[in-house]
């Protein structure tokens, strides 16, 4: 452990059975075992979870923030993609 900063890990916690794991933050750790233990200590002190996932932050692939307009803006004017765009005839009932 001669490196000054330990690798970063992203932490995902499942609050209850049946829910999905949600990203809660990150921890430093030298390996997966320590990452789980650190995540337990940092993020489940108040009974927040029943399951922990950790993923090396370096393994997360993210989009380039500069691509934001080309990636996301085209969706803005396509309101017909939202279910609320359509009027449901009374006779259909619940769908």
């Amino acid at each position: 452990m001669t490196e000054k900063n330990w690798p970063l890990w992203e932490v995902f916690i499942r609050a209850r059975n049946g829910l999905h794991h949600a990203h809660v933050g990150s921890v430093h750790a030298v390996d997966a075992e320590m990452a789980i233990e650190n995540a337990r200590d940092v993020y489940t002190r108040r009974g927040e979870g029943v399951s922990i996932w950790v993923v090396p932050s370096a393994q997360i692939v993210a989009n380039d923030p500069g691509d934001k307009e080309s990636l996301f803006d085209p969706a803005l004017d396509k309101i017909y993609r939202h279910p609320t765009f359509y009027e449901i005839p009374d006779g259909v009932g619940n769908i």
């Binding site: 452990m1 001669t2 330990w6 921890v27 430093h28 750790a29 030298v30 075992e33 320590m34 233990e37 650190n38 337990r40 200590d41 940092v42 002190r45």
Partner: protein, 228 residues
């Protein structure tokens, strides 16, 4: 002077004093994550100490706070190893492993055999907490013992420095467990028959306990009965 005698006192005081020692790491641990881990362990130990001090207090007609904050050093029965100053991180982790192994045996025995229901309850909760503490301390002993030249040197130094203070907590089962943990860390356990202190059983302590209590007890003594 507040005083009490109980078979549980070495255990209760051991948890209380070690909890205070660990709390001294707050804001000083090697990483933020480790800072929180040590705080969690200190709080677990404090909860265990409280559970037992309540039982002892009920037997002797005093409160847990009186037992914790108004006894003199010679009234404490914590194993000497718990009161030793923290030293470096290797020393703290080796000490923690030694004490965790002792506590693992004590708690499982109490959970199975204690006649007092409240004591059994404290022990059952402590077994789960202790399992985590032991995983934490043993993994650090392995990382440091089987790590770099410097971390190994520190872990060897810590083990040797702690060895004369195992007297009150060591038995055959303890030696076997410590031997296994140190072997995994590629370290050699010092001889079982080497000399050791065990004077806390008679109320004799190292010079360090007085300073620890001076800090731990000062607030309660300056403001007796204060609440928040």
């Amino acid at each position: 002077m507040v005083s009490a005698t109980s078979e549980l006192l070495p255990l209760a005081d051991g948890c209380l004093i070690l909890s205070h020692r660990l709390s001294e790491w707050m804001s000083n641990a090697p990483t933020m994550e480790e800072d929180i881990a040590l705080g969690n362990i200190a709080l677990d130990l404090l909860g265990q100490a409280r559970g037992l001090l309540q039982v002892i207090g009920d037997e002797t007609g005093v409160t847990e706070d009186e037992l914790a904050y108004f006894r003199e050093p010679q009234e404490f029965r914590n194993p000497l190893i718990c009161e030793l100053p923290n030293g470096d991180f290797a020393f703290t982790m080796a000490r923690q492993l030694f004490v965790d192994i002792w506590l693992a045996h004590v708690w499982s025995e109490l959970a199975a055999t204690a006649s007092d229901e409240q004591v059994r309850g404290v022990a059952e909760k402590a077994i789960k907490e202790n399992a985590y503490h032991r995983r934490h301390s043993s993994s650090w002993v392995v990382r440091l013992g089987d790590g770099t030249d410097e971390s190994r040197r520190r872990m060897e130094t810590a083990t040797e420095a702690l060895w004369p203070y195992r007297g009150e907590i060591a038995d055959d089962r303890w030696y076997d467990a410590v031997d296994a943990a140190l072997t995994e860390a590629t370290l050699t356990m010092p001889p079982r028959d080497a000399w050791t202190q065990r004077s806390s059983l008679d109320g004799w302590h190292t010079e360090h306990l007085g300073y620890l209590l001076a800090e731990m007890q000062s607030l309660a003594r300056a403001h007796p009965g204060a609440t928040w």
